[in-house]
């Protein structure tokens, strides 16, 4: 098969799965939900973005969706193998970020995390003395050569064929070696009993929820959402379309508003990977903060005091 054809087939598959997911989710809408999954019931009138059968993003009322686990009932083995034929990738557009923190809260809500636990965090970066600071949302990079996976002694954290690096918190022994090995401080540990009050009957490495005491967890790129044809919550929650999510095999990414070609986007906007020199080969690209939509202060001034505290050093350097 030629490269073109493979890509084409990949796209067809993507659309097919998306279509099935859409139809299934809508059909199941009336079913009562045995809600033990990590997704909360979205209240009626909340809009959810879906990928339609012809590859377009449509917005539908979330009451038509049933987030119960039947959509993501997959075996533990499947959760380890990943979704065949896919290669997930994310692009973060730094020029659009104003630290609205909607991604952070959406992620926390989705994964039932307390406010102090951030799988996704926004840093204020300043690369050089004269350089101007910029907001820098940071998820897990799902590296292709992940230092955390290399060091895990029990295969609790693993790399899937669709590119995701996940953690099986039923396997993790909590040695924290992966945390020491991750150069991006992505991972967090459950130092105390998480008390989320969710049953773990349907837990797989894909759902990541509920958290378990004494184990490690991190951003998972929401593979259970992807299986349902939905975008990860941070992508849909961002009001400025900072996050693009998609499939490298299909060479498309979408931020919910526009669907673009990955390679074109990286080419036009000078996409790069964070700390390329570490050789971890992240699956996440950044678009440099050029022609910004917002001045950096916009993301600082509206913050509550305790959050301002975090960025004080950098802001003060500016003054």
């Amino acid at each position: 098969m030629k490269q073109e054809e493979i890509k084409d087939k990949g796209r067809r598959d993507f659309i097919k799965t998306a279509a099935i997911a859409t139809i299934a989710t809508t059909a199941c809408g009336s079913l009562a939900c045995s809600c033990s999954s990590k997704h909360e019931h979205h209240k009626a009138a909340e809009k959810v973005k879906l990928l339609s059968p012809d590859g377009e993003i449509v917005e539908i009322d979330s009451s038509y969706l049933d987030h119960a686990n039947h959509m993501s009932i997959i075996s533990k083995k499947q959760a380890r193998e990943g979704i065949p034929g896919r290669k997930f990738v994310m692009v973060i557009d730094l020029a659009r970020c104003k630290n609205a923190r909607k991604c952070v809260t959406a992620c926390q809500k989705m994964h039932h995390l307390p406010v102090e636990k951030e799988w996704l965090s926004v840093k204020l970066m300043k690369d050089s003395d004269k350089g101007s600071p910029y907001w820098f949302p940071k998820t897990c990079f799902h590296c292709d050569d992940p230092p955390c996976v290399k060091v895990c002694p029990v295969d609790a954290t693993f790399k899937r064929q669709d590119g995701l690096v996940l953690i099986d918190n039923e396997r993790c022994i909590g040695c924290k070696f992966c945390m020491a090995a991750c150069p991006y401080s992505t991972r967090v540990f459950n130092w105390d009993e998480p008390n989320q009050g969710i049953s773990d009957a349907n837990y797989t490495a894909e759902s990541s929820v509920p958290s378990k005491i004494g184990t490690v967890e991190k951003c998972d790129f929401c593979p259970d959402m992807i299986r349902q044809g939905l975008l990860p919550d941070c992508v849909t929650a961002c009001p400025n379309g900072v996050f693009y999510f998609g499939d490298e095999n299909e060479d498309t990414v979408t931020n919910g508003d526009e669907t673009v070609s990955l390679s074109q986007l990286l080419k036009d906007r000078g996409g790069y990977r964070f700390m390329e020199e570490l050789g971890t080969k992240p699956r996440l690209y950044y678009l440099p903060p050029k022609d910004r939509m917002f001045p950096v202060e916009r993301g600082y001034e509206s913050l509550p005091e305790e959050l301002k505290e975090r960025y004080k050093d950098v802001i003060e350097m500016e003054k």
């Binding site: 840093k123 060091v151 022994i173 040695c175 924290k176 020491a180 401080s185 570490l278």
Partner: protein, 451 residues
């Protein structure tokens, strides 16, 4: 078992130590058990409430426990290497101290791994290490290496003990029946026949040959838990040899201190002579020089090339407001003073050497802390966290309680073991005192004779 007169004196001298447990030993046993009980309570808290009771957090994911782990494991390797070398090269003056070095090896290889287990969040899943092992993880290498090493060093100590067990068996000691039976079982029917002797010596030599490279390997693997990561201050090619040397050095110090304590307690001046202190002092000095050289290369190269991340760690280490004073302590007490003390003939006495060795051991513990904590406090991505306990590590009481419980376990094992076997091996002992030393002893005895 036939003993020559020198060996017989040595045995008679130590006979009471294994015949009677004694008030003092009881006291210390209870004292150590008390400490262990406090540690046990801390452990209960840690298991019941989670690792939140420790000072470890998402940035500094390892703290005192891993420091203790490196520390004890280091002592153990040193014991194996020192006793192995003394045995292999048939160093005759080394014979009385081999047992002590071997005891040190075993005891610390039991205590050390307890501390790595304390770093593990899920005790209930420890067996996963064997059910789902992943061979590319340095942690798995470490588990395998330590287990192998443990078996090897237990055998090594046991081989060396067989002859002595035969002595205890034949000596008609005034001890309970079970103990007598145990000695006799453990001596494996050793009678000192020529063939038995030959086999024993061969297997001991073989074990020494295996153990020495093994402990170098295991020590390096331990260092690779850090060296294999992408962290400033850890990701260094010299970490393997650096750890090996630091291990040898600190172990040498512990051996000196142990010698001093037993010499005082059991009046073993005839066996742990001044010469032993001097020789081990020289060894300590050479190791100090080597270790100092590594430390200097490590700091100097990263300071001079001053990469951003390396710089951050170096700044933390040398800033008096952060770890500056500790760095100073670790290097002055841990490197410079031991070298000076041994170099100056006036201060080259057992008491001074032992005191300096003791302080050096503490300085090396601090050094391990300085390897672990500042690096973890300097992540590559800025922390930008307002929670003080996440930004800066400070150990909590359960961590300290468990640390002291570990030290108490270490000392308790020493106490119990020295009540079970003689600290100075009896069989195979030679009178290695020089004429000069004999003459000195003579003079001393006359001195104290009443006129």
């Amino acid at each position: 078992m036939e003993l020559n007169t020198f060996q017989q004196t040595a045995f008679d001298h130590q006979r009471p130590t294994i015949e009677k447990f004694g008030k003092r030993a009881w006291f210390w046993t209870f004292f150590f058990l008390l400490w262990i009980a406090v540690g046990g309570y801390a452990l209960y808290l840690q298991i019941a409430k989670g690792h939140g009771v420790t000072g470890m957090r998402d940035n500094v994911v390892w703290g005192l426990f891993i420091v203790n782990f490196i520390f004890f494991i280091g002592i153990s390797y040193a014991g194996a290497i020192i006793s192995g070398l003394l045995l292999l090269f048939k160093v005759s003056w080394g014979k009385p101290i081999i047992r002590l070095a071997q005891m040190m090896t075993i005891i610390s290889v039991i205590v050390g791994p307890i501390f790595i287990l304390l770093c593990v969040g899920r005790f209930d899943r420890l067996h996963y290490l064997f059910i789902y092992p992943r061979i590319q993880s340095p942690m798995t290498w470490d588990v395998l290496a330590i287990l192998t090493y443990f078996v090897g060093s237990v055998l090594f100590l046991y081989m060396a003990l067989i002859k002595d067990f035969a002595v205890y068996r034949d000596a008609k000691l005034n001890i309970p029946k079970w103990k007598q039976k145990l000695y006799s079982a453990l001596s494996l029917g050793y009678r000192g026949a020529a063939s038995q002797k030959r086999h024993l010596i061969r297997s001991q030599n073989l074990l020494a040959i295996i153990l020495i490279p093994l402990s170098i390997m295991v020590s390096s693997i331990l260092s690779w838990i850090f060296g294999m990561t992408l962290r400033p201050g850890w990701h260094s090619t010299i970490f393997g040899p650096y750890f090996v040397l630091a291990a040898l050095y600190s172990g040498c110090g512990v051996l000196i201190v142990a010698m001093w304590v037993y010499r005082k307690m059991y009046k073993l001046e005839n066996y742990f002579t001044d010469r032993h202190f001097t020789y081990l002092g020289y060894t300590m000095m050479i190791l100090a020089a080597g270790y100092g050289y590594f430390t200097f290369s490590e700091y100097f190269t990263s300071w001079f090339s001053s990469e951003v991340w390396d710089n951050e760690v170096i700044n933390k280490l040398f800033n008096p407001a952060e770890y500056g004073w500790w760095t100073l302590f670790a290097n002055v007490v841990g490197i410079i003073i031991p070298m000076l003390i041994v170099a100056i003939p006036k201060t080259r006495t057992p008491n001074v050497i032992s005191l300096v060795a003791f302080c050096m051991v503490i300085a090396l513990w601090v050094k391990r802390y300085l390897i672990i904590v500042p690096t973890l406090e300097s992540p590559l991505v800025p922390m930008q966290d307002t929670r003080q306990e996440y930004v800066k590590y400070s150990a909590t009481w359960p961590e300290w309680a468990l640390t002291f419980a570990g030290i108490a376990t270490f000392l308790l094992f020493f106490t119990l073991m020295s009540k079970f076997v003689t600290v100075v091996p009896v069989s195979g002992l030679e009178d290695t005192k020089t004429h000069h030393e004999h003459a000195k002893d003579h003079v001393k005895k006359e001195d104290i004779q009443p006129a």
